[in-house]
Every structure is written in C-alpha cells, then in structure tokens.
Amino acid sequence: MSNSAQKSKVGPNYWRVFLTFARNSLVRDMTFRTNFLLQCISSFGWTLMNVGFYLILFQYTDTIGADSGWDRDKFFIFIATTWFINSLVQAFFMPNAQEFSELIRTGGLDFALLKPIDTQFLISFRRIDWSALSNFFAGIIIIAVSLYNLATREVDAMIPSAMSILLYFAFVICGIAIMYSLMTCLSATSVWLGRNQTLYNFWFYITNFSRYPMEIYNTGWGKPLYGFFTFIVPVLVVVNVPARLLAKPISPRTDYEMLIIGWAVVATVLSIVVSRWVFKKSLGAYRSASS
C-alpha cells in the first residue's frame, strides 16, 4: 500500500475512506429506522432461539462430548465467540461480497476498477451493515454471563489470565481474516460462474461446520471432515482456537493443541495470500458485461 513515500503522497488515505464508507452506511441504515430496528430485533430473536436450544441440550448432558471439557459455561463462551466473528463478518464483509457478485454480473465493476484505490479494499469495505452488529452485543451479553458463571461456580471455577484474553482477541481477528478470505474467494468465483446467487447458502453451509467444538468431528467418519475443515478450508480453527484459549486454562497444553494454535496463525496468513491471489486472478478474468 504505502510501500514508497512517493506513492503514499498521492494515494488515498485508506482509513479516512473507510470512515466515510462507515458513515455513509450508517446514514443509509438510519434512513429506514424501523427496518433497522426490526432487523436488530430479529437478530436478537435468532440469538435467543440458539441459546434456548443449547440450554435444552444441557438439560440432558453436562458436556458436549464425553470428556471434551465443553461444559455449559465453557460452551457458551464458544457460542459467544462464534457470535462475535459471525456478526463482524456479516456487518463488514457480507453485504460487500454479495454486491461484488452483483457488480460482476451487471458490469458495474468497471467503475470500481477505474477508481484510484486498491480494488479489493474498495470492494470489501464499501458497505457496512450496522444492524448485524446487534449480534455482537448479544455475544457480549452471552460471554459476560458465562464468564461470570465460570468464575463464581463451585466446581472447577476459572478466571482467564490476561495472556489468554490477549490471545483471544488476537485469534478472533485471525478468525475474521480467515472468514473474510473465504468469502472473498467465494464471491470472486462469480467471475467464472456468471451468477452466484447461492453464495449466501454456500457460506452458511461451510461456516456451519465452524459452529461447534472441533472434537465432535474427531471420530469415525468425521475424521476426513475434521482434516478437510482444519487444514484445507480452515473454518474449524476460526472459532475453536480463540474459544479454547479463553475457556480453558492456558498452562497444561498438549503438543497437539499448540500445533493447532500455530496452524491457526499459518492458516490466517495463507488464507489472506490465497484470497488476494484469487481476487487478482478473478479481476484478470473479468470481462465487462454491457456494451
């Protein structure tokens, strides 16, 4: 970006451009205030339903998976992490990814290509869906309650260390980066496929695997899935690594856990590189639509 001094002088200020996008989107969202409110309400409704579902599950079991350690409070930390990552991805990237497919189909991408700014940046941040952030707040409530429960319960109480909180934030950001890369790759495929209306479905089906502790896949015929979604399309590390860092004591870690944490860092870097490459490749294959 600002790799040479000369370039940064004439290049755009990315941060200010981003703030402008954010403000524009907020103005747009606030124009239809009732709609905005209803969207927030339905997001909360969705959260409540999920929480209800898991509370029902925990009526019948103490942990998700025997000896996995994911008891109720820890599992809800996991859920909150899912909520953080998904809400941020949905707020910042989802509307843009959908629009990207649409721009390719209609030929509107021409105008984005002409702008004196990095095209991937422009395409990725143009629109922010502020209402999706309501799930972020839902996540904060869930994690606050479960951390409180975890700290004050009688058996096996735990307060996460400062180190694990720090790592938690770092790996949540890694998780978002992986999801962003995956989404960019998916939406870029519409250059070759012409239309990509099932993007959202596909996204939902893939990220569905990231919603539960990875241990549950590590049996029998789940092993290939476990391997595939850890090492090839690394959606399993997205939530698992940060949630595990926060919900479980940091000191006794098995080598395997350390390996997965290390892999999460590598996977993040690789995902970003690959998505950048796919994006560039897709721009190269883009032929304008009209006239």
């Binding site: 209803l38 019948y60 998700i64 099932t198 479905n201």
Partner: protein, 289 residues
C-alpha cells in the same frame, strides 16, 4: 386469446373445459420454467443436507455424554433424532414457500397485482397452481439427491418402514403441510396491502417458524412449561408433525384427531387468506401504468 371479438359472450370461455385448459397452461409453463435450472437445483438440494452432518456430530456428542442412564432424550434415541432431521427435510420440502409472501408483497407494491383484477384469473388460485407446479418440478429433480441421502442414512431408521396407516397419515400431513404453508404465507404476503414493506416482518416470521415448526429440534424436547403452548400453534405442521407421525412418536390412536386439527387449521388459513385478499383489494389503489 388472439381473436379480437369480445370473448365474454362466448359460453366456452367460462366453461369448465376452458378453466381446466387455463390451469393446465399455467401449470405447464411454471413446470418448464422450473426445469430449466435442474442441474443447479439438484446440487442445491444435495447441499441442503450439509447442515444435517453437523447436527449428526453434535447429537452424537450429546448422546455420548448423557446425564441420566439410558439412551433416550424425551423418547428419542440418537438414531431417531437423525431420522427426525431427515424427515423434517421432506416435510419442509412440502411446506416451505420460498418467495411466496415477498412475491405477493412486491406485486402489490409495484402494482402488478392489477393484472389479477382485470384478467379472469384468481390471484390465489394462480399462485397455488404455480406453486404446485414448482413443487412437482422440484420433487422430480430432488428425488434423486433425497433418495441418495436417505439410502446412505438408512441405518438411522431403526424401525424401518412404518405401517401402511401411519405412512398414509404421514403423506396426508405432508400434503396438508404444503397447503397450510401456502395459505399462511400468502396471508402474510397480503399484509402488503396495509404495509408497503414486509421484508423484515417476513424475516421475523421465518425465524420463529424455524424454531417453532420443529425444524431446529423435536418439539417434545421443549420444557414442559412451553411445550403445550407451542403445540397449540399451527407452525408445528410445517415440520414436526409429519416427522413425528412417521417415527411413531405420535401414538396411532391420536393420529386421526391430530390430522383433524391440522385440517381445521388449513380451513382457517384458507378463510384468512381469502378475507385478507378481499379486504386488501377494496383498499388497494393502483397508480401509474
């Protein structure tokens, strides 16, 4: 239709044969329209089973660490739960109406609904035929992925095929589920006569329907304080009831009364839909071309 003479005086234009002809034409057009994208369609159907994979692993983990002795949750074994999810996929294939309510609302908003007031075609009947055609087209293509998945998962159906009576009840509840889904969603679409924007309202409905229809989990798992209330709602006919009937979770002696209640709800929604349409049209004023 190509004749320039006034058609209203000719008897065959309103006769039964003419009406059947129109319906057949609507049906065939909708069918062909749908079969154009059959490849995409079959793949999409197969993909729709993917979330069940995660459900299988989740429930397997839950059943692997049950609190109480025994291997059942609210009368469901692990295999039953998986079979339940698969069966709700069939039930939802009947009862889900993608784009119906939003389509009606859009037609009201941009004035396309005027067409049904001028032409001798009934809006609800037209949409119903369209939907039946779409569903039949859907099943002819989707039967292959469905059969594949059910074949792969046949071991989850521990008790095998149900008896003829139960199976017939299952089919009846699926078909009524289709009709309830149709008239319920059409009625929601009619809200568009009163409010211009119904998208977010629809979203909330879809959310609740996902939970309360039993698509998320068998409704018997609900706490005893909530279950009777949810059981009273008609949404359970969209997913829960057919699956529960098939799996024998509804005692055979209760099935007739259950189906009768379902039928009563169906009649209720037909009436609501008709009344809403009639009142909506009275209110409606179409502007522009």
């Amino acid at each position: 239709m190509s004749s320039t003479a006034l058609p209203s005086s000719e008897p065959h234009e309103s006769g039964f044969r003419w009406r059947m002809g129109v319906w057949w034409m609507i049906f065939r057009t909708a069918m062909e329209e749908r079969l154009v994208y059959r490849g995409d369609f079959a793949l999409g159907t197969l993909m729709r089973f993917l979330p069940i994979i995660t459900q299988i692993f989740l429930w397997s983990a839950v059943f692997g660490s049950l609190k109480a002795n025994g291997d059942e949750i609210a009368g469901y074994r692990f295999e039953d739960i998986v079979a339940y999810y698969l069966l709700t996929m069939i039930a939802r294939a009947f009862s889900s109406m993608p784009g119906l309510a939003s389509g009606i609302a859009t037609q009201i908003r941009d004035g396309e609904i005027k067409r049904y007031m001028i032409q001798p075609i009934d809006l609800i009947g037209f949409l119903l035929l369209n939907r039946i055609a779409h569903k039949i087209a859907y099943y002819t293509v989707a039967i292959a992925p469905f059969a594949l998945v059910f074949f792969l998962c046949r071991n989850y159906f521990v008790d095998g095929w149900p008896g003829f009576g139960v199976f017939a009840a299952f089919c009846a509840s699926c078909i009524m589920g289709f009709l309830i889904g149709f008239f319920l969603e059409a009625a929601i679409g009619m809200i568009g006569f009163w409010f211009l924007e119904v998208t977010s309202l629809l979203f909330i409905y879809m959310l609740f329907s996902f939970f309360l229809s039993g698509h998320m989990f068998p409704l018997t798992l609900l706490p005893d304080s909530i279950e009777p209330f949810v059981n009273f709602l008609p949404l359970k006919y969209l997913a829960y009831t057919p699956a529960a009937i098939y799996l024998g979770k509804i005692p055979p002696e209760d099935i007739p009364i259950e189906l009768a209640i379902e039928f009563a709800w169906l009649v209720f929604f037909i009436v609501v839909c008709r009344v809403a349409y009639r009142n909506g049209v009275k209110r409606y004023s179409g502007f522009g071309g």
